[in-house]
């Protein structure tokens, strides 16, 4: 199993602050995905990064894939209460299409 370690596990910040969440592994992934999960809902795909060094932006969210394709980061600028949720990184397992998930970062943004 290819393990994905996420940090920090919990993050509580005030509206307007910036934050970065990390997803690290000793294994190489063909791609990594970031999902956000809100209470009572299933995870919702935010982005997929495929190329080493790739940077993708989704409004105030910036995603980066490491050059060696072993790690990824998610940076949120000027966080808002609507960003609150569980952020999960995931990569393809050796068995093909199924995903291995990190343990997630639980983010709370207070007004």
């Amino acid at each position: 199993t290819q393990l994905l370690e996420q940090s920090p596990q919990f993050l509580s910040i005030q509206e307007g602050e910036n934050l970065t969440v990390y997803c690290n592994s000793s294994s190489v992934f063909s791609s990594l995905q970031w999902y956000r999960q809100e209470p009572g809902e299933g995870p919702v795909l935010l982005v997929t990064v495929v190329t080493g060094g790739e940077v993708k932006k989704l409004k105030r969210l910036t995603f980066q894939f490491g050059d060696a394709r072993k790690d990824s980061s998610l940076h949120i600028t000027a966080a808002q209460p609507g960003d609150t949720g569980l952020y999960l990184c995931a990569g393809n397992s050796n068995s093909g299409y199924a995903l291995n998930f990190g343990k997630g970062t639980s983010l709370l943004v207070t007004p």
Binding site: G40, A90, N100, F101
Partner: protein, 116 residues
């Protein structure tokens, strides 16, 4: 992206009973996945369900405990058998994206199971 629904959305069950969870997709898909998310934990893959063949189970999960049906390309069920409190979790089904983005998955809203 596919639209996925699950039934029931939540249930409270007694120890020793079984619960069958349904997953319906609005389009035909070859593969469907079943995950478990224990309280405060991330998602763990239980099995991959292909239409017309036996499900493939991940290490630590067995067919007797989690039998899966896949009668057609838009529907699957997962049964949690002989439940114990340790089975209290959110159970999620998912499907892959289109061929070009086959490594992405779309999830149902989950079934929150509490076993007393």
């Amino acid at each position: 992206s596919a639209v996925i629904s699950q039934k029931p959305s939540r249930d409270i069950c007694q120890r020793g009973t079984s619960l069958t969870i349904q997953c319906q997709v609005d389009s035909q898909v070859t593969m469907m996945f079943w995950y478990r998310q224990q309280p405060g934990q991330s998602l763990t893959l239980i099995a991959t369900a292909n239409q017309g063949s036996e499900a493939t189970y991940e290490s630590g999960f067995v067919i007797d405990k989690f039998p899966i049906s896949r009668p057609n390309l838009t529907f699957s069920t997962l049964t949690v058998s002989n439940m114990s409190p340790e089975d209290s979790s959110i159970y999620l089904c998912s499907v892959p994206g289109t061929k070009k983005t086959y490594n992405e998955q779309f999830f149902g809203p989950g079934t929150r199971l509490t076993v007393l």
